[in-house]
């Protein structure tokens, strides 16, 4: 578990002293309008950028990568969308499938396109649509070039897991490498590996540690040190110890198993990594492809864990900056109204019984929590003083927010900062769903007794290690039948989707080359709930 998520809400951590660099400059109304009317030009973008930058850096104290802002057409936005939002990407049919799907949705008018896409890279690349009005470009500049950019640069998960400097180069390498593989080994062979690797993307990340790279030299040195130690401490007397006579046979297999597991570093939850390193069936180029997919999965892993915070941060920043621009007389009331209109669309949260409901909107929750932090810092109620003694009334909401953006992920952020007042505002409630019952039960609601549980459960629902299936490699006998043994720790009796499960097992088998067995074990009782084996390719083709 990540350190940050262990923090308890009621006992806030001590905030590091921040440089008191931020002091809101006095609003001056004599700066003059940045633009008027809805047409944008590069000149207007430049001046507006400068005005936004002033507020972002001097007032909010944001710290960003250099910005590379690219204006693109809607077709290009569709393109960008479909390659997981990356500017360059290797080729694969699934991106085309996405494209066909998104294009249909867009052409038929079911959905609009994103106003912008931002890439976690240095320089930070963002794409803006040419169709945006100048007011929208202003919003997007503040949102992407400063909000997201600041978050990418400062959040600990991104710092720990992603290399913004190198990602574009790496993608270029990946694209070239895979193209070369296609040339050499044929489209189908490459597609087969990529399909299988994509199926394991969710199980292709290191969740809790950066992988410990041990060089060959270090390994040798360690082995030598160990040898030296054994030589030093050798005592022939140990040989004479009598062995327990009866325990020899059963313990032998146990011992072998333990030995094997130790050698292979089992259990291992990064399936892609394990297969890449140990599969008896893969060619070197196939291993390299698994590595590419794994690196991508790892690159996107922080984004999965920070949807609420990342979007909240960007939304908060654009909201603050656009209002500041208006206060300074730099944008017209019309532009402000236009921005606020789309802003309120973005942060709209339908109720659970509303037909538009599709889960909790990360923009809405993130933005509301960050606004709430400002409120707690500046105008706390008694309740806030109870719940957030550390920050209530401290007035320096800028540092508090910057600290939150830097040191939390969704799960820990909610655990730390979701206030009773916000729980009431959203009218949050907890629903217990036991598949054995014919009814749902309301567990807790937005009242005195329920705040903690609601907050706790909401936080858990953002913890990927909790809500994605926990599947690990537990054993493989490389010298024997080479069957790969996977274990699914079944939490709360929640099963895997069987169709997906069987298909992925077949994919794993393809990569592993030998049979694969997955057993579902209840996390509490250790009871085996199911066993599923990969269907061999031959048997599959016959039916």
């Amino acid at each position: 578990m990540a350190a940050a998520s262990k923090r308890k809400a009621a006992t806030p951590k001590t905030t590091k002293p921040k440089a008191p660099k931020t002091k809101a400059p006095k609003p001056t109304s004599a700066r003059g309008l940045l633009f008027d009317g809805s047409e944008w030009t590069f000149q207007k973008l430049e001046t507006t950028y400068a005005a936004i930058q002033e507020i972002a850096e001097e007032d909010l104290g944001l710290e960003v990568y250099p910005n590379q802002i690219e204006i693109i057409s809607s077709e290009q936005m569709l393109d960008a969308y479909c390659a997981i939002g990356m500017p360059l990407m290797y080729q694969h049919w699934s991106f085309g499938k996405r494209f066909v799907h998104e294009e249909t949705m867009y052409r038929k008018g079911f959905q609009g396109l994103a106003y912008e896409i931002v890439i976690n890279s240095n320089p930070c690349i963002s794409y803006y649509m040419e169709e945006n009005t100048m007011a929208m470009q202003t919003l997007v500049l503040a949102h992407a070039a400063f909000g997201h950019n600041h978050f990418f640069k400062n959040n600990y998960l991104f710092q720990q897991w992603t290399d913004a400097e190198a990602i574009l180069d790496y993608l270029e390498f990946a694209k070239g490498y895979i193209a070369k593989c296609e040339e050499r080994h044929g489209l189908d062979a490459v597609e087969e590996v990529l399909d299988a690797a994509h199926a394991l993307m969710d199980q292709g990340v290191f969740r809790y540690r950066r992988q410990n790279f041990v060089t060959e030299r270090q390994r040798r040195e360690r082995a030598e040190a160990r040898q030296a130690y054994e030589e030093q401490t050798y005592n022939d007397l140990w040989r004479t110890l009598p062995k327990p006579a009866d325990s020899e046979d059963p313990s032998e297999t146990e011992r072998l198993l333990a030995e094997r597991k130790k050698q292979l570093n089992l259990p291992e939850e990064n399936l892609l990594y394990f297969i890449e390193k140990n599969s008896p069936a893969l060619e070197p180029w196939q291993r390299e492809m698994l590595r590419i997919v794994r690196n991508l999965a790892q690159y996107f892993y922080p984004q999965k864990q920070t949807k609420v915070m990342n979007e909240g941060c960007a939304t908060f920043v654009h909201h603050y900056i656009v209002n500041a621009l208006y206060d300074r007389g730099q944008i017209t009331e019309g532009a402000l109204m236009e921005v606020l209109h789309s802003h309120s669309n973005v942060v709209f949260q339908p109720d659970f019984d509303d037909p538009r409901f599709s889960g909790i909107n990360p923009y809405a929750l993130g933005f509301a929590m960050m606004q709430d932090i400002v409120r707690i810092c500046t105008e706390p109620s008694d309740e806030d003083r109870d719940w957030f003694p550390e920050i209530a009334g401290c007035d320096d909401w800028r540092s508090v927010l910057r600290d939150a953006w830097a040191n939390y992920r969704d799960e820990s952020f909610i655990r730390q900062y979701l206030s009773p007042r916000l729980i009431r505002e959203f009218k949050l409630f907890l629903l217990n769903d036991d598949s054995r019952d014919k009814y749902y039960e309301v567990g807790a609601i937005h009242d005195e007794r329920g705040y903690r549980e609601v907050r706790d459960k909401l936080a858990v629902s953002y913890d990927i290690s909790q809500n994605e299936p926990d599947i690990q490699v537990v054993d493989v006998d490389l010298k024997g039948d080479r069957e790969l043994v996977l274990k699914h720790n079944v939490r709360d009796g929640i099963p895997l989707d069987e169709r997906n499960r069987d298909e992925v097992l077949a994919q794993i088998r393809r990569l592993w080359g030998y049979d694969v067995r997955l057993s579902g074990v209840d996390a509490d009782s250790e009871k085996t709930l199911y066993e599923s084996r990969s269907v061999s390719q031959r048997a599959k083709k016959e039916d």
Binding site: P350, Y439, V442, D497
Partner: protein
């Protein structure tokens, strides 16, 4: 630091390759779908307006994820209005069991992704795969019906086609150009002459005037006669051109040997061949009739169901089918109104002495009126290997081969498994392409 870049002029379709890859992937699904549907569908249904939807299998991207139901879950929802802790809400009745299995909890509906092609798209893909679109354009344009169509004017023609307006316009122009006197001029002079002549006494001035008038009148009358009101040169006829009119109707004859030697495998192959021909014709014609003629030692016209699925015993006399076809043609499909196509499938067996009569029937009566006649001989694998690229075989095949050399609209092919049919079809039409 910042950097603005205008990317709008960059090439768009960055996803084009991925899109094509998706279609390449989907195409395999279409083929599968078609292959599977061939068995259950009527020939006319295959391209018959409905879309063929591709099962999401194969374009699914499976992931290890939790099922949407089962186990104990706790979820937080917004917007509570009346609930208090401990309240129970009944689950919808279908909450358990299979119902939830298909739904994806990501909300993207990924598992449900189906890609339906319209008929046109389907056929395009289908023919693209057969590399036929150009052939469709060139080959099937051959037509036999003509329809007159106005095509300007000509200087010769039949009287019924005289275009009065044009003719009069030319006449008027000519008359003006040649200064043909109008009738009033002549009558006016005549009247003046008459008036002078009726006078008893003419003075010298009147006398001169009369002479002048007479000369002029004569001159005018001469011109009036010399320059006709309508000259043959003026006459214009409506011109009609014979424009070839594609017939919108086609009839397709399916001839098949249903004797004991034709098993389900042979019939299945034959059906695929017929379907391909039908799909092909469908691109071209508004209306296609299909006539199924099956034969053993005697032939009869039957419906599709009987054609493919009922069993029959007896000998094999191929000519009976051709005779039956001729009869149907004479009865219902006059050559001037119909484009006639025929596809014959057989395992090559024929009554010894019959082949000669078959050839005669084809050469004399059927091939001259058919747009196209295709014969496929269905062999088993071993025979196929043996007879590949050879003219050897049973008498029917040898005879048909000779016929194929003489007639451009007659083709023969041998097939032994479904995979042979597509290439065969391609070859059949590709050959015509060269001659077209």
């Amino acid at each position: 630091m910042r950097h603005f870049i205008d990317r709008r002029l960059n090439p768009k379709d960055k996803s084009l390759v991925n899109r094509q890859r998706f279609l390449r992937r989907a195409r395999a699904q279409i083929k599968d779908a078609v292959n599977k549907s061939l068995k259950d569908r009527k020939i006319t249904d295959v391209g018959g307006g409905e879309s063929v939807s591709i099962p999401s299998k194969g374009i699914r991207e499976p992931r290890l994820r939790h099922a949407s139901s089962g186990g104990r879950r706790q979820r937080i929802f917004p917007g509570n209005k009346e609930f208090t802790p401990g309240d129970r809400i009944n689950k919808p009745p279908s909450g358990k069991g299979e119902g939830g299995k298909e739904a994806s909890d990501s909300g993207e509906g990924e598992d449900e992704f189906t890609f339906a092609l319209t008929r046109e798209e389907f056929l395009d893909l289908f023919f693209e795969d057969l590399e036929l679109p150009d052939l469709v354009k060139t080959n099937l344009k051959e037509t036999t019906a003509y329809k007159p169509q106005r095509a300007g004017y000509s200087v010769d023609g039949t009287t019924t086609n005289i275009n009065v307006l044009r003719t009069m316009r030319h006449s008027l122009g000519r008359r003006i150009a040649l200064k043909r006197p109008v009738l009033g001029d002549v009558e006016g002079l005549q009247a003046e002459v008459d008036e002078l002549e009726t006078k008893d006494h003419l003075d010298a001035r009147e006398m001169r005037r009369l002479i002048e008038l007479k000369v002029e009148l004569e001159n005018v009358q001469r011109r009036w006669k010399a320059i006709p009101y309508i000259d043959p040169l003026d006459i214009r006829y409506n011109r009609f051109e014979q424009v070839p009119q594609p017939k919108t109707n086609a009839v397709m004859f399916c001839l098949m040997d249903v004797s004991g030697s034709m098993g389900p495998r042979e019939k299945d192959l034959a059906k695929r061949f017929f379907i391909l021909l039908h799909l092909f014709l469908e691109r071209r014609y508004e209306r296609i009739d299909i006539v199924f003629i099956r034969h053993t030692h005697k032939a009869s016209e039957v419906d599709e169901e009987t054609f493919f699925y009922s069993r029959e015993t007896g000998g094999t006399v191929v000519s009976t089918a051709l005779v039956e076809m001729r009869k149907v043609l004479r009865d219902r499909y006059p050559v001037q109104d119909w484009n006639i196509y025929a596809a014959q499938a057989s395992d090559g067996d024929n009554f010894e002495d019959d082949t000669g009569y078959c050839l005669e029937l084809l050469a004399q009566e059927l091939l001259p009126v058919c747009q196209y006649f295709a014969y496929v001989e269905i062999l088993d694998e071993r025979e196929f290997q043996l007879f590949q690229n050879s003219n050897g075989g049973k008498t029917l095949w040898r005879g048909y081969r000779r016929l194929a050399e003489a007639f451009e609209n007659f083709e023969t092919k041998r097939i032994s498994k479904p995979g042979d049919i597509y290439p065969v079809f391609r070859e059949l039409f590709a050959k015509n392409k060269e001659t077209a």
